[in-house]
């Protein structure tokens, strides 16, 4: 059990590092120039949407990982 918990912690850490990398690569260079004064609002809106999608994806992967690592223990 304990090794499972340490493995889950390590997997979460890895997901944070990888997720952060994807966020920097996707969101970092993202700019919009065509919409005059509103370009930063649009860019921020799109950034928020991408970030939320990434967070949802992160939670889904974590849920699958949890069920896989603790499949025996979760059958209470």
């Amino acid at each position: 059990m304990k090794s499972g918990l340490y493995g889950f912690l390590f997997a979460m850490w890895g997901l944070i590092i990888i997720g952060g990398g994807i966020m920097v690569v996707l969101l970092g260079p993202f700019t919009i120039q065509q919409f005059g004064d509103f370009h930063w609002i649009l860019a921020s809106g799109i950034k928020v949407t991408i970030a939320l999608v990434l967070v949802v994806l992160w939670i889904l992967i974590l849920s699958k990982l949890k069920n896989w690592i603790f499949k025996k223990e979760l059958k209470f």
């Binding site: 912690l9 590092i17 966020m23 969101l27 970092g28 921020s44 979760l74 209470f76």
Partner: protein, 329 residues
Amino acid sequence: MIELIVPAIISCILAFFVVYFTTPSLIKILVKKNYTVKDMNKKDNAMVARPGGISIILGIFASEIILYGFFQLNEILAVIITTTAAFLIGYVDDRKVMGGWFKPVTLAIAALPIIFLGAYDSDLAFPLFGDVQIPILYLGLIIFMIPITGNTINSIDVLNGVASGFMVIASFTLSICLFILQNYEIAIVSLPLGFVSLAFYKYHKIPSKIFPGDSGALTFGAMYGVIAIIGGVEIIAAIALLPAVINSFLFLSSVKRVVEHRQIKNPTTLTSDFKLKTTDDRTAPITLVRLILAGGPLTEKQIGFAIFKLAIFSGILAIITAFMMGVSL
């Protein structure tokens, strides 16, 4: 650097000893006023004083005021205001049972001084990959972060000494990371949290003489969240907090709604020799303690140490991450 040492030493001594000396008096007053709760995992039905948040906020307030006298930073004001607000929110919840919405909503409001004082940098720093500028998104992050850290620490406050012991490990880890990143002023601002937690642990450890209550747990969590924001170490702070995050994640994914802990079934029961074991009730939520107990019954002390070992492991990962911040792919 040298000019920072004197304020650091004074604030740390003050943080530790204010809590160390005021908590015994607080216990006496609380017991006299009958502000006690039953310790559910003890055979003699011991009554324990609550809430200890009063001595915790005194220690934090005294040490941070001293630091403000030295540095006059808006970041310190943000720590003082948001942490005090979190304490008051917790204190209201300690005295009067509030709905599940109360703490998240009011803690989000408590985060606003960080924005109004401009005590943040909207760049989110990631290890290996660098920073990402998210000015609008970051405001949302501030408002969400304080309720998350507050409630995360509150949700791990389930056994004698766990919340304060866990905070000792997590907050000193955060301070070490801030020193590694050469953010010395905020590192010094963060140190009192570790010393306050350490002094409170003396009275909270098994067998507890006092419980922190919601006021103590939210004070710990909110201050931790503010330091993460003003220090620009949000990702590192989240990593150091991972065991508590796992606890909240497991709880939410099994309960599937935001709910007060007092409204749910206890995921553990006691054996005849007063060890804790996982309940047979399939509808009880899955928590970190329940997973630790999956291998068989354990004493409260053994579970506490298992959680501390997990906290040390995630602390090491956080320190590795801090070193990785200096590396760019």
